[in-house]
Symmetry: C2
Subunit: 124 residues, 2 copies
Amino acid sequence: MKRRSTPTKEAVIAVLNASTRAMSQEAIEQKIEIEIDRATVYRALNQFCTDGIIHKIVADDGKQYFAVCKKCDVEALPDNHFHFRCTKCHTIECLSSLINFSLPKAYAVEKFNCVLVGTCGNCA
Amino acid sequence: MKRRSTPTKEAVIAVLNASTRAMSQEAIEQKIEIEIDRATVYRALNQFCTDGIIHKIVADDGKQYFAVCKKCDVEALPDNHFHFRCTKCHTIECLSSLINFSLPKAYAVEKFNCVLVGTCGNCA
DNA sequence: TTATTATTGCGATTATGTTGCAATAATACA
DNA sequence: TGTATTATTGCAACATAATCGCAATAATAA
Ligand SMILES: [Mn+2]
Ligand SMILES: [Mn+2]
Ligand SMILES: [Zn+2]
Ligand SMILES: [Zn+2]
């Protein structure tokens, strides 16, 4: 499907680009000046995911978080890094440390969803 | 709170003990002979988690999975291992490989929620 | 300027999990 | 054994996160 540039999509990606953290739909909506419907934000986010512009993390709080994560595009597999969720300031960030793992024979990994949970440096 | 032994709780833990995989509430309910309400199953599962008998994984499909995971009780931190979710047979299993990670200064990890997603040996 | 169709807002819907409450039943103990 | 205590249960209602259908709107190409 062909893509169109719209104020909504520009606003969403602008917020993510300006953030050092992964953000939930709710957090994104709060940062955006204009009013955008929840469903529309999700549609934009899912589209960006499909297009490989951002990636999605599902955290242990059951929510989806989205991040641009500029560092990880050199990796063979997408999202091959840990994330850290701070239970105090309720943020998620992409860590630079790559994921080391070993698998039983014949297992094949396609993607990662790895979150470390605790207290971040700011909140320590 | 004092615990009581009931047919429901026995059934739930029996299913998990008999399984090599982590299971969702839905999967557990299907394995149990008797009819048990959804809320009751969740209450049993949450109680077992509180008591440290089982542990919970939130996968990238947004669902909670529960497993006994006998291997991990020697670890300092709970749940310090990867999980593997097979997108073909819709199961999650605890892997034996421990999680190696490095953190920025002053960060403190309290728990893990790490899932590798792909195709398992059976489905390869 | 016009036609095409991607995008949007809105409401409804799905999916997963939790909670309040009265009825039930497991346990302790007289 | 019989009784009191209260953990547990089933049911319905609720909560939250995310998706979907559809008609209206607007970005793009011709
Ligand atoms: Mn990331
Ligand atoms: Mn496990
Ligand atoms: Zn923090
Ligand atoms: Zn499989």
